[in-house]
């Protein structure tokens, strides 16, 4: 099942990348990043089946980082919304000068 799992994982990752590049809603872009992390987790679990369970430990760490990222990222989105009344990434161009 390794090849099939890697196939599903590759497709999910590509969908996540396409989502990040084509959507403007900051929250949906953020969820696409979560989808990419999930795709990588599937690769880790698939390889852990034949290379030892240490791969599953890495899935654990990835999930922790994802949780921390969600907390901080959503706080940033809320702060941005308070400031600009929008989450559309096209209107958030403070660094453009």
């Amino acid at each position: 099942m390794l090849a099939e799992a890697l196939f599903f994982s590759a497709v999910l990752f590509a969908i996540g990348v396409v989502g990040v590049l084509t959507r403007r809603n900051a929250i949906i872009v953020f969820m696409c990043v979560e989808l990419m992390l999930n795709a990588v987790n599937l690769t880790f679990v698939a390889f852990a089946q034949s290379y030892g369970a240490a791969g599953q430990v890495f899935v654990f760490f990835v999930m922790t980082v994802a949780a921390a990222e969600a907390a901080v990222g959503l706080a940033i989105i809320i702060a941005l919304f308070r400031h600009r009344q929008t989450v559309d990434l096209q209107n958030i161009n403070l660094l453009k000068g």
Partner: protein
């Protein structure tokens, strides 16, 4: 799963069928997720993807990770996302937020290139002395339970990483509180 009395490499048809079923559900849900206009619908399709991924984890001998996937990803992280959507009132007055044609072409090209790269990688062979005997993880789970194969490395080889993770979580909590705080009186920043 442990394959008994079977020649190496063959799996029961039911197992294969369910593996493909959940994989296809995950991909279709992910496609629906990136194409929905409403953030709430998108979030719920992503929850669906995560549930199917949990099923795939269980079928790949990672039962504990499957449970954690449902609890932490589908249960906690996605609820936080839905909560923020509700807090910012983004569910109503849905307008399309897709970028223009140029961005879509770029995204399509990047997606195809990524897929091609990953397929090229799956064709390469890994050294035989790295691989464990077939069904090793399944037998380990059978012998010691689903948690011991993860707990062993986590608290031995990766103990330092585990401790650093706790610092990371603390930093994330402090960061979220600082960012979420209302700028008010008596606030120098």
């Amino acid at each position: 799963m442990v394959v008994q009395d079977m020649p190496h490499g063959t799996l029961p048809l039911l197992y294969t069928f369910h593996f493909y079923l959940f994989g296809i559900i995950a991909i279709v849900s992910a496609l629906l997720f990136v194409t929905r206009k409403s953030p709430v619908a998108a979030a719920l399709w992503l929850v669906n993807t995560m549930f199917s991924l949990a099923a795939l984890y269980v079928m790949l001998d990672a039962q504990f990770i499957g449970v954690i996937q449902v609890l932490v990803y589908a249960g906690a992280i996605m609820v936080v996302f839905l909560f923020v959507i509700m807090l910012l009132n983004l569910g109503q007055g849905v307008v399309g937020d897709a970028r223009g044609l140029g961005w879509k072409l770029i995204a399509g090209a990047v997606g195809v290139a990524l897929l091609a790269q990953i397929f090229a990688l799956t064709r390469s062979r890994t050294p035989v002395n790295l691989t464990l005997p077939a069904g090793y993880t399944a037998q380990q789970v059978e012998r010691t339970g689903a948690i011991t194969p993860i707990a062993g490395p986590l608290f031995n080889e990766y103990l330092l990483a585990f401790e650093v993770t706790s610092v990371l979580l603390l930093a994330a909590i402090v960061g979220a509180v600082v960012l979420g705080k209302q700028r008010g009186e008596g606030d120098a920043g």
